[in-house]
Amino acid sequence: MVITSPTLFARARGGDRFWKRRRILSLSAHYFGRKKNCYSIAIKYVNRALRYSTIARRQKKLDLRALWKARITGGSEELGTSYNSMKYTLNDIGIGLDHKILQNMAIWEPRTFRGLALLTKAKETEKGLNSLDGPSVSGVVTRGML
């Protein structure tokens, strides 16, 4: 006995109405109501879902990139440097760490990340950037004041 179902399912591009419908209905199998079983209703919702997933493949990358940027900003600013400083300085030195690795280090390897932040600051001082003394520390509340 030859089992033809997988082959026919994969080959269904047109012609065979049953297998064409199987392809669509397999994508709508987890929907609710008649969207699940009626082809003419299912096809509308499957098309819409495929449209969304096409957009989402791009959107996911943008969202993750924004998240990584926010995390690196948070991690670098508590160490006294900034996202832009770290990005450009590490690039200049030739440390090839991308956003994903950097944000991972900020969370899981805080000492490594601090090393990179200190390296950024040292390199900037060497270049003559941010090497002047900063503003005075007025406006800081200390223990005795309250």
Binding site: E77, F113, G139, V140, V141
Partner: protein, 183 residues
């Protein structure tokens, strides 16, 4: 976050890691809208590397001296806060200076609330903001403060707050002529 050796749930470990951070901010002579933009980051937790939009990792922010905030330009007279009771004719418009007289914390609270992102987390985030009109903080809150936000701008000092000696000893470029009338 990773599961700790004690077998606690990941959520609990994370909340323990980010718990109890009270950040102090002195709002004296500060612009409430620029301040709100700064405070917003601490309430959402985006100052931390573990930040995620759905992650509840914000800090508590304790603001003191909210009575002494400084509005830019003519905002005290021109900025209007709108409220509607829901009934016909229930609309009311309150000027900023009137609102500040009624409740000296409300201008800052609304500024922060409006700058937080508009989603279901907003109410929870604003609940972490503690505003006090003066520098009297309950001890229960003061004990949990572990950090502070620098003031955005220096507090200006008025001429009548300088001592007479300081004013007298201030270096002068020239003396007015004896017959010159200063109005």
């Amino acid at each position: 976050m990773e599961v700790s050796a004690g077998g606690e749930s990941p959520q609990k470990v994370q909340s323990m890691a980010t718990f109890g951070c009270g950040i102090l901010y002195d709002a004296k002579w500060q612009n409430p809208f620029h301040t709100a933009n700064k405070i917003k980051d601490y309430l959402t937790g985006s100052t931390k590397p573990i930040y995620h939009p759905l992650n509840d990792c914000g800090d508590h922010v304790v603001v003191i001296n909210s009575r002494d905030i400084a509005m830019p330009g003519i905002e005290w007279e021109k900025r209007v806060y709108f409220h509607h009771t829901g009934y016909p004719g229930g609309a009311s418009w309150t000027l900023a200076w009137e609102l500040h007289q009624k409740d000296p914390t409300l201008v800052l609270r609304k500024a922060v609330y409006n700058q937080l992102s508009k989603n279901l987390l907003r109410r929870g985030r604003i609940a972490r903001l503690h505003i006090f009109p003066d520098d009297k903080i309950p001890d229960s809150i003061l004990q949990n403060i572990s950090g502070q936000i620098r003031q955005l701008r220096p507090v200006p000092k008025r001429l009548d707050h300088y001592s007479e000696e300081e004013v007298k000893n201030f270096p002068k470029v020239f003396d007015w002529p004896r017959e010159y009338i200063i109005q």
